[in-house]
C-alpha cells in the first residue's frame, strides 16, 4: 500500500488549493470550481470547510486534479 496521508480539514485543503491553483473560477458557498495548475482541467470541491477530509481524498485532489507532483502535494499540505 502507498503512504497513508493524514486527514485534513476541508477549509485547510481549500486554502491549499487557492494557494496552488489560484482562486476558484466559480464559487457558490462551499461549491468551488478550481482550475488545475497546468490550466488543462477544472474540478469542483464541494465539501464544507469544517468537515474532515480523509488523507486519501486530499492526495487524489492535489495530485490528480490540481496536478501537483506527489512531492509538491506533500509539501503543500505540510506548509
Amino acid at each position: 500500500m502507498g503512504e497513508r496521508w493524514p486527514e485534513i480539514k476541508a477549509g485547510r485543503l481549500a486554502a491549499v488549493l487557492v494557494r496552488e491553483c489560484g482562486p476558484p473560477i466559480r464559487q457558490n458557498g462551499s461549491h468551488r470550481v478550481f482550475r488545475s495548475v497546468d490550466g488543462q482541467s477544472t474540478f469542483t470541491f464541494a465539501i464544507h470547510d469544517r468537515k474532515t477530509v480523509p488523507g486519501s481524498l486530499a492526495r487524489r485532489i492535489l495530485v490528480m486534479d490540481a496536478r501537483l507532483t506527489i512531492e509538491q502535494a506533500r509539501k503543500a499540505v505540510r506548509g
Partner: protein, 205 residues
C-alpha cells in the same frame, strides 16, 4: 451519446466519525461528502449540476467503495449486474481475511491516485473501456472476476503515471487487446499463470 460520468461513493470514516461518505468522479472530478449514502448522492448531484452549469450533466454511472482490509477498497458498480459483482466482492472480502499465506497480495506501488489499493469487482462481459472510464492517469486499478465457485482472478491496469516504474509491464497492444475487449478476454490474455498475473498492463488513457 456523450461519455458517462462515473461517480464513486466511498465509505471511509474519518477519525471524528463524520462525514463517513465522500465522492470522486471521472472524467470530471467532483468532490462532495455526506453523513449517509443518500446525503452524499444528493450532495453530489447538486455539486455536479453546479460544475456543469448550463451544460447538460452526462449520464451517471454509480459505484460503491468499501474498505475490506486496511488500505484495500472494493468497488462495486450499481447496475443490473450488481448481484454478480456482489459475489466477487464477498469472495474477495473473504479472501482478504484469510491467513496471510493464502491472502491475495498486491504490489505496494500499484495503488490508486488515493494511495490505496482499489479492486474493481467485474464480470466477464464488462468491457475494458468501461474500467478505463473509471480511472485516471495516476491510477492503478486491480480487476477481480469470478472464475469458479470458489475463486477469483485478479489482474492490474495502470494509467501512464499510475506506477513509478513500468519495467516489465505490458501494453494492451502487446497482449492483443483493445478497450473494446471484455474482462473475460483480458483475464485469459494476462493470467495464464500466477507470475504473469502480477504484471500490470499499462494502458494509455
Amino acid at each position: 451519446m456523450s461519455e458517462p460520468l462515473h461517480v464513486i461513493y466511498r465509505h471511509e470514516p474519518t477519525s471524528d466519525g463524520e462525514p463517513t461518505w465522500h465522492s470522486y468522479s471521472y472524467p470530471t472530478a467532483v468532490y462532495a461528502s455526506g453523513y449517509a449514502l443518500e446525503d452524499l448522492r444528493e450532495a453530489f448531484r447538486e455539486a455536479v449540476a453546479f460544475h456543469y452549469g448550463e451544460t447538460p450533466v452526462p449520464q451517471l454511472v454509480e459505484h460503491l467503495e468499501h474498505q475490506a482490509a486496511p488500505g484495500v477498497f472494493l468497488r462495486v458498480a450499481v447496475d443490473r449486474q450488481t448481484l454478480d459483482r456482489d459475489y466477487v466482492e464477498s469472495t474477495m472480502r473473504a479472501a482478504l481475511t484469510r491467513e496471510s499465506v493464502h491472502r491475495p497480495r498486491f504490489a505496494a506501488e500499484q495503488v490508486s491516485a488515493s494511495g490505496d489499493i482499489v479492486v474493481v469487482c467485474a464480470v466477464a462481459s464488462d468491457r475494458l473501456g468501461w474500467v478505463f472510464e473509471q480511472m485516471g492517469e495516476h491510477d492503478a486499478l486491480h480487476i477481480a472476476m469470478a472464475v469458479s465457485d470458489f475463486g477469483v482472478n485478479i489482474a492490474t491496469v495502470a494509467g501512464p503515471s499510475g506506477i513509478p516504474d513500468p519495467t516489465g509491464s505490458l501494453t494492451l497492444n502487446e497482449v492483443g487487446l483493445s478497450s473494446e475487449s471484455t474482462i473475460g478476454e483480458f483475464m485469459v490474455a494476462v493470467t495464464p499463470d500466477r507470475e504473469s498475473s502480477r504484471l500490470p498492463v499499462l494502458i494509455t488513457l
